[in-house]
């Protein structure tokens, strides 16, 4: 009898940990505790700075993905948007040929152009999905191909540097990048938890038909989510471009699976209706911790790829465990 009782209390504790918003953060703590002793340079201030610098842009893109996933969609085009924004910004403000070259307004206007480019692609995706009822997976897949192709075409494969220092500082100086990411993160958090638009996003993700019957402008909400995703990808493009001090059409081309992986590890559902800024933050942190530690261990890219796959699988297993320990079937 007492066995059953302890088992129940053990389960209750497990459930408490599993259901906490901070679950993935606990996972991070455990991971650091296990890995740090074997990993030279892992627990240094310098490394923390490195980690932060790489985490911030990924966090910003993943936030956009979170919004789209909450509505039950998916945005595969974010990485291409990063590439496109990177070169549009660079074309506009590089010191040699840009129309903003050497203008004092180069940084703000250039960044504005990048955000506008992101919003444009997001708006295209959203319009195709809402107005023409095309499946998000295919729409964003096609724009992933098309936008990235167009970006490479636009520059004839060249990368563009000699960008204004003020612009490079946005991504290059970790403190500024941190401020940007914090502002973005807090705004999205407030939007999701406190604003009408945020509640609508969840409602649309849970059940678009019910939302429509309840007077929610469903198409507008979905369109908004994709535009947000495009704009946030553009913000990430600003950070990445600043870090590299160069506009490149293939910037960020390889991080798509990281973006989706991190978001889902955080606990955002692929079926809509579930997702939070904090979850995504922790998901990104976890993925980057794994990445960073394996890098420090100087493991080969192949091992890293395998481990990343295993980590995503483990996170999904834990998530499925969470849902099963959750409210009983009836």
């Amino acid at each position: 009898m007492s066995d059953a009782a302890t088992a129940r209390s053990w389960r209750a504790t497990a459930a408490r940990v599993l259901f906490s918003d901070y679950f993935v953060l606990w996972l991070c703590v455990v991971y650091v505790a296990v890995v740090a002793p074997f990993t030279p340079g892992f627990l240094t201030l310098e490394n923390a700075g490195n980690l932060l610098a790489t985490l911030l842009p990924l966090f910003v893109v993943a936030l956009g993905q979170t919004l789209v996933l909450i509505t039950g969609g998916i945005d595969l085009s974010v990485t291409s948007i990063i590439g496109l924004c990177s070169i549009t910004g660079a074309l506009a403000m590089n010191d040699d040929t840009g129309w903003l070259a050497r203008s004092p307004m180069a940084m703000p206007v250039g960044a504005g152009v990048m955000l506008a480019a992101g919003a444009l692609v997001g708006g295209f995706n959203g319009t195709a999905i809402t107005r023409f009822r095309m499946p998000p997976f295919i729409v964003t897949l096609a724009s992933m191909m098309g936008v990235s192709g167009a970006a490479v075409w636009l520059t004839q494969s060249k990368t563009i540097n000699r960008l204004p220092d003020a612009f490079n500082a946005l991504g290059g100086k970790t403190t500024i990048a941190l401020v940007i990411a914090l502002v973005v993160g807090i705004s999205v958090h407030v939007m999701l938890s406190r604003s009408m638009f945020g509640r609508w996003l969840y409602a649309v993700g849970h059940n678009a038909r019910t939302a429509r019957v309840s007077g929610v402008p469903v198409n507008g909400v979905i369109l908004g989510a994709y535009i947000c995703s495009g704009v946030l990808a553009a913000v990430a493009a600003i950070l990445y471009t600043g870090q590299a001090e160069t506009g490149s059409p293939v910037l960020g081309q390889r991080i798509l699976l990281d973006v989706i992986g991190a978001t889902v590890i955080g606990g955002t559902s692929l079926f809509g209706g579930r997702g939070k800024v904090l979850w995504t933050l922790f998901g990104v942190l976890f993925l980057k911790l794994v990445d960073n530690s394996l890098n420090l261990l100087s493991l080969s890219l192949f091992t890293l790829t395998i481990v990343k796959g295993v980590v995503i699988l483990l996170a999904a297993l834990l998530d499925s465990l969470r849902t099963r320990l959750g409210p009983a079937d009836r």
């Binding site: 295919i138 004839q156 080969s300 395998i306 295993v310 999904a316 499925s320």
Partner: protein, 327 residues
């Protein structure tokens, strides 16, 4: 109370993918007459074979409202292992067997995670994509491996004048079509895709069906890999990359729904694969600007899906139940 019988408008709408396909072929034909030759047609068909076979497997998975992102990784891993075996002097049949075994094993692994551990197919197969590619890269150490001529001969063999790849494609499509349309298993796949919970209640062993489609998909990916290698003659580290998207696009262009329960291998998926290949071939024949390829391909996919969605809206309006007979 019956819906109206098919009117000419409905007939046209139902054939929309075919019409679009014809339009694209004719457009390329008008721009480059060489495109419309029999030689070129066979050429396009042969090149479309690997995509078509992988997409056939993908169709099975999509019909259950799942997805398999690991097909490209399966192709690469199978090729890597086969390459190692062949370079090590093992006979060709063993290598071919190994590729197919890898496909089935990966399919089974996907199946276990999806059915037993109840993880979303998107995540499972995404993770296995990483793992598969990682293992294959470790095996090859990213080197390209050249396969012996015996492998290339597979691709060049003709039986009774028909190229072997086309024979294989024909066999795969025929089998898939019969299985989907004329066996209890096939019809049950459609039922599971339509409503999994109801399917379980109706007494269908849904878990078995799901497991089976992932294994079939793995097998088809491996088979597609073999045929692709038979044309390439080498395994490179980029082999199979982005094939998952290509296969999904082919299936969706052929009218298969990502939400399960709707779609067909023939003509649907096969037509989709040939369409994608036609675009690429057409652009080469036109000697188009290399930069334009991805943009044009994306545009055609978008147009095809747009046509499909407009068609579905129109069809559902036309075949809507009527309450009364009005003029």
């Amino acid at each position: 109370m019956r819906p109206r019988p098919s009117s000419p408008g409905i007939l046209v709408l139902r054939q929309a993918p075919l019409i679009l396909f014809a339009a694209i072929v004719l457009l390329f034909g008008a721009l480059a007459p060489k495109f419309l030759t029999a030689d070129n047609a066979i050429n396009v068909l042969i090149q479309a074979v690997p995509t078509a076979i992988v997409a056939v497997g993908m169709t099975f998975v999509l019909l259950t409202a799942g997805v398999d992102l690991s097909v490209g990784a399966i192709m690469f891993l199978g090729g890597a292992i086969a390459g190692k075996l062949l370079v090590g002097g093992q006979p060709l049949p063993l290598a071919l067997g190994a590729i197919l075994a890898v496909g089935v094993a990966f399919g089974a692994l996907n199946a276990v995670f999806v059915t037993r551990l109840r993880i979303a197919p998107f995540i499972v197969t995404l993770a296995l994509l990483f793992i598969g590619r990682g293992v294959a890269l470790t095996i090859t150490q990213t080197r390209a491996m050249n396969l012996p001529d015996s492998f290339l001969q597979l691709g060049a063999t003709r039986i009774a004048g028909v190229p072997l790849p086309l024979m294989v494609l024909g066999a795969v499509v025929l089998t898939a079509q019969v299985v989907l349309m004329h066996t209890p298993f096939g019809r049950q796949i459609y039922a599971v895709g339509n409503h999994p919970a109801n399917a379980r209640r109706a007494g269908i062993r849904t878990q078995r069906i799901l497991a089976a489609v992932y294994i079939i998909c793995g097998f088809c990916a491996a088979l597609g890999g073999i045929l692709s290698l038979a044309q390439l003659g080498a395994v490179s580290p980029k082999f199979g990359e982005a094939y998952e998207f290509k296969a999904i696009a082919a299936a969706v262009l052929g009218g298969t729904s990502l939400f399960g329960g709707r779609g067909a291998v023939f003509p649907g998926t096969v037509l989709g694969a040939v369409l994608i290949q036609s675009i690429e071939t057409g652009l080469v024949i036109l000697n188009a600007d290399p930069y334009a390829y991805p943009v044009v391909t994306a545009a055609v996919i978008l147009i095809a899906v747009l046509v499909d969605s407009v068609r579905n809206t129109a069809l559902s309006r036309l075949t809507q139940r009527r309450i009364r007979v009005d003029a």
